[in-house]
Amino acid sequence: MSQPPAGSSGSATGPSLRERLLAARLYLVSDDATPAAELPSVLEAAIAGGVDIFQLRRKGVEPGDLLELAGRCGQVCRQRGILFIVDDWVELARECGADGVHLGQSDMPIADARGLLGEGALIGRSTHNRGHVDEAMSQRADYISAGPVHETPTKPGRPAVGFEHVAVAARRTHVPVVAIGGLGPHEARLALESGADMVAVVRAICSAPDPGAAAARFRQSMLEAVSWPWIFVNGVPRKCRPGEHLGELAAALELAEVGVVVEVNGSILARESWDLVDLHAGDRLEVVHFVGGGCGG
């Protein structure tokens, strides 16, 4: 294949894949119902409506057919300047020059995929509970999905985790969180207000009579959301709820133990005042405590 390696950016001067990932909001995942021949045109329409990241997921397709379909979808994504992710199949992602791969809980370990695709590739991981989130972070996932928010026919038998898990994921990561699972335009807004950075949609766009109009409805609803601001805690990006005060963040981060000191934007804040301090986007927090040391730390 003469495709560029997975994860290579199209332009030496343009934004990196991770910068584009941070800016993405509407994540389209292909369904199995749309005929392969129609998928590229559905994708074209959805991109016109506001989709800015696409994942190819097809079950029960011959490898050769899937490679051909991936080539066509990847070409559409590249031409329209959106990110192209392949579900599960790392070798396919590499073969077709995708920007990255999405791994479910039963798929390949992130480190193995990283080894095959290189440092530049985007690697996403599905999470269904807090443990999955922590594990994905320790394995350096580039983004995580959180769901299913509602039970869906796409993943039969998997219990819904609600927006609560989206909020937990948003709290515990410093990478984008994609809410997924039976979300319509109104719920997409709720997902962002629960801490998600992106919303993944399958049937609500792929099966819509007008995929472009459906995507646009999602974008419009998401524009109205008050999304969670990013702050920096000990140098690491982290999100908090809009209008949250320091006391709530401290509770979420379990900072109750004696001897923990918090500094916000260079000012040490006494514990008694934490509930009076509102957090704002871009705030820089240092959370310190005593560790062993003699001379020279």
């Binding site: 001897g259 923990v260 310190v288 003699g294 001379c295």
Partner: protein, 262 residues
């Protein structure tokens, strides 16, 4: 040791003149037992970011910090500004008003920056801290730090983290002799005899970390340092004998007359 021989610093009475470091111990358990064995009442600490994800436990886990006088340090600071910030963070934990000022001027030797150390001392004294600056073994600097309000000065015996012992005995003795505030010898003391030696000269105390933490049996070594510090202090209080040149220790009078072969 007599009760009235306690080391008084910042309104605190320390019965033990051994200050115990808490870095580089093989485990939290060994650290806890070493501190207990040493009898130390003051321990040093560093201020660092809390690991928010994953294991939050530090090597201080299991040590009741409220049962010691805490001497947080500003380790890691390379300027007065950074030292002041770390000191404020340390005090905000509300466990101690003491601060051991450490401002390293150069990363390879970890030797202190005297100018920034003095500046940090001036500022922190003004903010009401009980300031114990770690300093190079320079007499004038020790006097300037004392004049700036340091509760004690802490000249290094040798570079931080080393076990090189007392590199400049002459300077240390001069500082001990001249300095109007207690002199606590810090850094580089390798073996109990190093500690005993500086205590004999009149040092008010010693801070030991690596010499204990990296010993084969840190708990036993903590006990040995404790005994050495007490012995050195007793010797100092007793008054050291000082005689240059040879002089007989036995009476020159009353020798029986030499045997005469008949």
């Amino acid at each position: 040791m007599a009760e009235d021989d306690a080391l008084k610093l910042g309104g605190v009475r320390l019965g033990s003149r051994l200050i115990h470091g808490t870095g580089k111990f093989p485990s939290a358990d060994v650290l806890g037992r070493a501190i207990s064995a040493s009898g130390a009442q003051m321990i040093t600490l560093a201020v660092r970011r809390l690991h928010l994800d994953g294991d939050r436990r530090s090597e201080l886990e299991g040590i009741d910090l409220t049962s010691y006088t805490l001497l947080p340090n500003t380790a890691g600071a390379t300027s007065a500004e950074e030292a002041v910030r770390l000191a404020r963070l340390a005090r905000a934990a509300k466990l101690s008003d003491f601060i051991k000022v450490e401002v390293v001027g150069e990363q390879e030797t970890l030797l202190p920056d005297p100018i920034e150390t003095l500046e940090a001392t001036v500022r922190l004294v003004a903010e009401g801290f009980t300031v114990l600056p770690y300093a190079s073994d320079d007499v004038s600097l020790a006097l300037r730090l004392a004049a700036a309000g340091a509760a004690a000065v802490m000249p290094g015996a040798a570079p931080i983290g080393s076990t090189m012992g007392v590199l400049n005995p002459h300077n240390l003795r001069l500082i001990i002799a001249k300095c109007p505030v207690p002199v606590i010898v810090d850094a580089g003391l390798a073996v109990p005899s190093d500690a005993a030696r500086v205590m004999e000269w009149g040092a008010a105390g010693v801070l030991v970390n690596t010499g204990i933490a990296r010993a084969g049996d840190p708990v036993a070594m903590a006990r040995a340092f404790s005994a050495a510090v007490a012995a050195g202090r007793s010797a100092h209080l007793a008054g050291l004998a000082h005689v240059e040149g040879a002089a007989p220790s036995s009476p020159t009078e009353g020798m029986p007359s030499a045997l005469v072969r008949l």
